[in-house]
């Protein structure tokens, strides 16, 4: 009996030790904190991006020999779940990659530290693009700065420049031209389609970007707090997109997400694919000079309305090494690092000093996107990512509903009204709780 008790006690002690070991994401060395480990979670890890971070981390560690950065790669499809689990278990990293789409959830859970004061005192102050900072603040419900922007990730339509040239076509300037070119380039017998629709995961956000770019509506909610998603001009674009399904797009599009769309594009099956600057490296690596991009065309009234999704970094409140973690974030957003990163991923730098760099001037679509973003006539429409129900409305509810639209089982107007009603209700709920 006593030996059983001893064994049980030893097992419990071992369990306690394991628990203690796993309760922190950072550690100091045995020398009493001389060397600090900062844990960084990359929110969009992959073979194209991870080596870039590893290079930046090497540079940072050389410049800061007392800080070690532990890199943890998480794929974009899993990152929200990983953060939620980490918050629930108190095991968040020190620094994490955070998109504007993730901000509302993280700030609602009070997981991130406010960065306003740190940024105000930082040498970066005044060097980061003002509209990126404004988007970051708006995405967290205007409660302050919880994400330090690193890149703008504008929507782009990639197209097969070689096929367009062979058909005597130029990049379309309007939506009607786009649809006409898609029809012209479609050859179903050869399994070739002019366009591809995102019907699967991520369809909601992409469709709303297209609808607002076309409609020229620049506010997600009108003065009374009603969502503008069901504005007739937005509905008109949704109808036009749905009409493309199986006419100029593959049948599989109804459930395709980005990886399948990209695979079709790379395999010569589709001639145009709507994604964002974040896929620059993927498409360039796969297709080289055969691919080019254009920004979402303006609608009939010529107004350019863009969503402004921003990638960046968050400092987690639970971090025991806030100073070192902030130092790492500052390093990542410094001119040299931010320029290196964005040059390689093809996104718009948040650090405005990079706009004077040679690569940026020659970057083509990236600079075009940056210029349009900062053009005086451009209007920015901020998707209501500050709403806690945004993910539920645009993913869980809207994605299967949009698939019904594509399959002809629901009208575009009913779909838009359903999304609009849900957003209106969520906004009213948010206002009543947050003023």
């Amino acid at each position: 009996m006593s030996s059983m008790l001893r064994t049980t006690a030893a097992a419990l002690a071992a369990l306690g030790l394991l628990t203690a070991c796993s309760s922190t994401g950072s550690s100091t060395d045995a020398g009493g904190g001389a060397k600090v480990t900062v844990t960084y979670w990359d929110n969009n890890a992959g073979p194209a991006r991870t080596p870039l971070f590893q290079h930046l981390i090497d540079e940072f560690e050389k410049a800061n020999p007392n800080i070690t950065v532990k890199y943890v790669g998480v794929t974009s499809s899993e990152v929200a779940e990983k953060y939620n689990t980490a918050i629930a278990s108190g095991s968040t990293p020190d620094v994490g990659g955070v998109t504007t789409a993730l901000l509302a959830s993280l700030t609602a859970q009070k997981a991130l530290a406010p960065l306003d004061e740190l940024y105000a005192k930082s040498p970066l102050n005044g060097r980061l693009a003002a509209n990126f900072l404004a988007t970051s603040k708006a995405a967290s419900g205007g409660k302050g700065l919880f994400q330090l922007p690193s890149s703008g990730n504008q929507d782009v339509i990639w197209y097969r420049a070689d096929k367009f040239k062979a058909a005597g076509l130029a990049a379309p300037k309007t939506w009607d031209e786009l649809f006409a070119d898609a029809a012209r380039l479609t050859d179903k017998g050869a399994n070739q389609y002019g366009f591809t629709i995102r019907g699967g995961s991520g369809a909601g956000f992409q469709l709303l970007s297209e609808a607002y770019a076309y409609s020229g509506v620049a506010e997600m909610f009108d003065a009374s707090g009603k969502s503008t998603v069901d504005d007739p001009r937005n509905v008109a674009l949704i109808e036009k997109i749905a009409a493309q399904y199986k006419a100029t797009t593959p049948e599989a599009d109804v459930s395709n997400a980005y990886p399948q769309m990209l695979a079709q594009f790379q395999a010569n099956q589709v001639m145009m694919v709507h994604h964002n600057l974040g896929s620059t490296k993927d498409v360039r690596t796969a297709l080289g000079d055969k691919v080019a991009g254009f920004l979402l065309p303006a609608g009939p009234d010529g107004t350019s309305v863009l969503a402004n999704p921003v990638d960046g970094f968050g400092l987690f409140k639970n971090s025991k090494h806030q100073a070192e973690a902030w130092k790492f974030i500052e390093f990542l957003d410094s001119h040299a690092s931010n320029s290196y990163w964005n040059e390689n991923v093809g996104q718009i730098p948040a650090n405005t000093e990079a706009y004077a760099d040679e690569w940026y001037a020659k970057s083509g679509i990236t600079k075009e996107a940056g210029d349009l973003l900062n053009a005086p006539g451009t209007k920015l429409v901020q998707p209501p990512v500050h709403l806690p129900q945004y993910s539920k409305i645009t993913k869980t509810d809207a994605e299967p509903a949009f698939q019904k639209v594509l399959l002809g089982k629901m009208s575009a107007a009913d779909f838009a009204k359903g999304v609009a009603d849900a957003l209106t209700k969520a906004q009213a709920d948010y206002k009543s709780k947050n003023g």
């Binding site: 929200a80 179903k188 599989a252 993910s391 539920k392 869980t396 019904k404």
Partner: protein, 314 residues
């Protein structure tokens, strides 16, 4: 010493029970509890706590990114469920999925078991081939079938090249064909389970029964109906029950093959719960759905076991 002396268990010495000291008696009384305590502890940690936690959350409004709204709502989530059309649709799909899968897996598994139970050249290889899909993980199974169904590189692409069907046919993107396509993929993985269990039971059927049936003039069909099937009854009941529960709870294949689409055409109840947890972060309502699914499964299982008179001597 004789062999009998060394191997015979000596009976306990006769005499009055020990009296006096309480220590040894107490230890002896507690020993069984001490011995089962690790099992009880493990069950508590890995079964009671998670199940209790789900029931607890089912009574709460708990959306991860709305922590300020966390509150006890009693049966509110269950009331919401009654008016949730997607709950009823996903439950109906789950029922249809379970019936189709279990029935087809049973029939095909039984047929395969009967075949590989016969003696023929290459039987060992045939058995290995029949059982091999069972060793493949769900996600890998999905990957295999996604490649087969891929409109650009799969079976339908090659069929269209020889003039059968159209180029670009997507069986997973068409609500009329997606159910059949998913059923076939899951059948490939599930049939070996039945084949293994039924084959094991087939090998325990006494040869004398077949000989007696043969003497009574029974052919192969009558022997199968009156000897084989009655012998397999308990194995079939157990296998169909287990498989029904597993198929009802199936998430991996449907999640990765169709993600519940298109337009919710293949959203089972557990997949709906997974979507609520992963995309909506709604753990309160998701837990209520899980609790409802647990109760439905429990009720169906008890009913099935009672109706089938499982384990009762005939």
């Amino acid at each position: 010493m004789a062999l009998a002396d060394r191997t015979t268990v000596r009976p306990p010495a006769a005499g009055p029970p020990p009296t006096g000291r309480r220590g040894p008696r107490l230890r002896r009384a507690l020993a069984p509890y001490a011995l089962i305590s690790p099992t009880v502890l493990l069950l508590a940690v890995f079964l009671v706590v998670p199940v209790g936690s789900v029931v607890h959350y089912a009574l709460q409004h708990h959306v991860v990114n709305e922590p300020y709204d966390d509150a006890f709502v009693g049966l509110g989530n269950f009331r919401a469920m009654l008016g949730d059309q997607r709950f009823w649709d996903s439950l109906a799909f789950s029922a249809k999925w379970v019936v189709a899968e279990v029935l087809l897996q049973l029939l095909l598994g039984l047929a395969l078991a009967l075949i590989v139970n016969e003696t023929f050249v290459g039987r060992a290889m045939a058995r290995a081939l029949v059982f091999s899909p069972w060793a493949v993980s769900g996600v890998l199974t999905t990957s295999i079938w996604m490649l087969l169904y891929n409109p650009a590189t799969g079976v339908f692409h090659y069929l269209s090249e020889i003039g059968v069907g159209n180029a670009g046919t997507s069986v997973l993107g068409n609500p009329d064909t997606v159910f059949g396509a998913a059923v076939v993929a899951e059948l490939w993985r599930g049939v070996p389970f039945f084949a293994i269990l039924i084959l094991a039971d087939l090998q325990s059927v006494p040869k004398e029964l077949y000989e007696a049936a043969s003497i009574d003039g029974a052919g192969r069909v009558r022997s199968f109906l009156h000897v084989t099937l009655p012998h397999l009854r308990d194995a079939i009941v157990l296998a169909t029950l287990l498989r029904s529960v597993w198929e009802f709870n199936n998430v991996d294949l449907l999640y990765t093959l169709t993600n519940g689409g298109p337009a919710g055409a293949t959203t089972s109840l557990p997949l709906y719960v997974a979507q609520l947890a992963r995309k909506s972060y709604d753990f309160g309502y998701g837990s209520a759905l899980t609790t409802a699914a647990f109760v439905i499964l429990l009720f169906c299982s008890v009913l099935y076991l009672r109706l089938s008179k499982f384990g009762r001597q005939r």
